[in-house]
Amino acid sequence: MNNLIANTFALVWQEAAVGRWQTIKQGVVEPDLSKFLVIAALLFIIGVAGVLTRRNIIVIFMSIELILNAANLNFIAFTRYLQDTGNLNAVAGQVFTVFIIVVAAAEAAIGLGLVIALYRNKETIFVDKIDLLKW
């Protein structure tokens, strides 16, 4: 574990100190595909964190929306990448994104219906109070 953290710092240091500073600067001034992917990955992780740690089921749903959005961002970024590297008519990613948004909307409708039903029956929306899965 210590090794990992040390090596990570070392990587950054190397890049910064040993002549890679220019590369990093260029990465900031001209963000490329990987930046978008990293942002998407971080959004995804934040979403997962919300799902795992929150008690409020509504916020969990919101976190799921975050996860879906991270996927959307990936799709769109790759679409642009394909368009810029030759396939002018590449829109498959956008089409997929539309479907993801549809699914997200359907999921939200059903999920929030579930929340209401749950609240009527159990009078709570905290997931750690709901352990019906274990009968």
């Binding site: 001209e30 992917l37 795992l52 740690t53 590297t85 829109v91 994104t97 409708a109 209401i116 609240y119």
Partner: protein, 215 residues
Amino acid sequence: MTLSGWEAAFFWVFAIAALVAALLTILAHNAVHSALFLISTLVSVAALFVLLGAEFIAGVQILVYVGGVMVLFLFVIMLVNVGAEERGGETLFNRPAQVATSAVFLVLLSLGFIYAIRQGYEGLLIRDNLITPEQRAEVANRRRAQQQNLRPAATGTSRLSEDTQLVGASLYRFAALPFEIASVLLLVAIIGSVMLARTARQEAATGDLELKDEG
């Protein structure tokens, strides 16, 4: 594929805004605040879509997510009583052990992801280098020409409408079956949410539930 100039600046602004708002979404005490932060995240991501040239998707994102789904969220928050959490009377997170375990795994996961992205992107760069600069310039020229050679018309066309046409054409031509299936999915969602959100009396009225005699 790179952004530059103002686009780059906007990229960082919106990317950081999206991340911060996402973090605040899962950290906010009040569910309403969470929803509002989530809206900020979604709008920021929509802005990233615009930077990526997907204006139509950005519009859909704003309309469907922010205009539809998030309003639904706010309604549900209004319907279920979250007063306790709002007052701080309830703990925000699950049991500490679970939170800790999750955090460890998530750090591992994010490191793994970022590393994977770096590795994969290098592969893409290598692939891109297989294309000669002339070819790349030709692609850029074609793209420019495609945008400039739009036919003039009284109704007016632009790259935006052309791209949207392309998306629409693909949706209806190549993704027609999934499109129809999605419509069925939405129908199921409508029916499902209506069925789920019924009160006991409504369920009894349709004979799905036998209401116990209330005294």
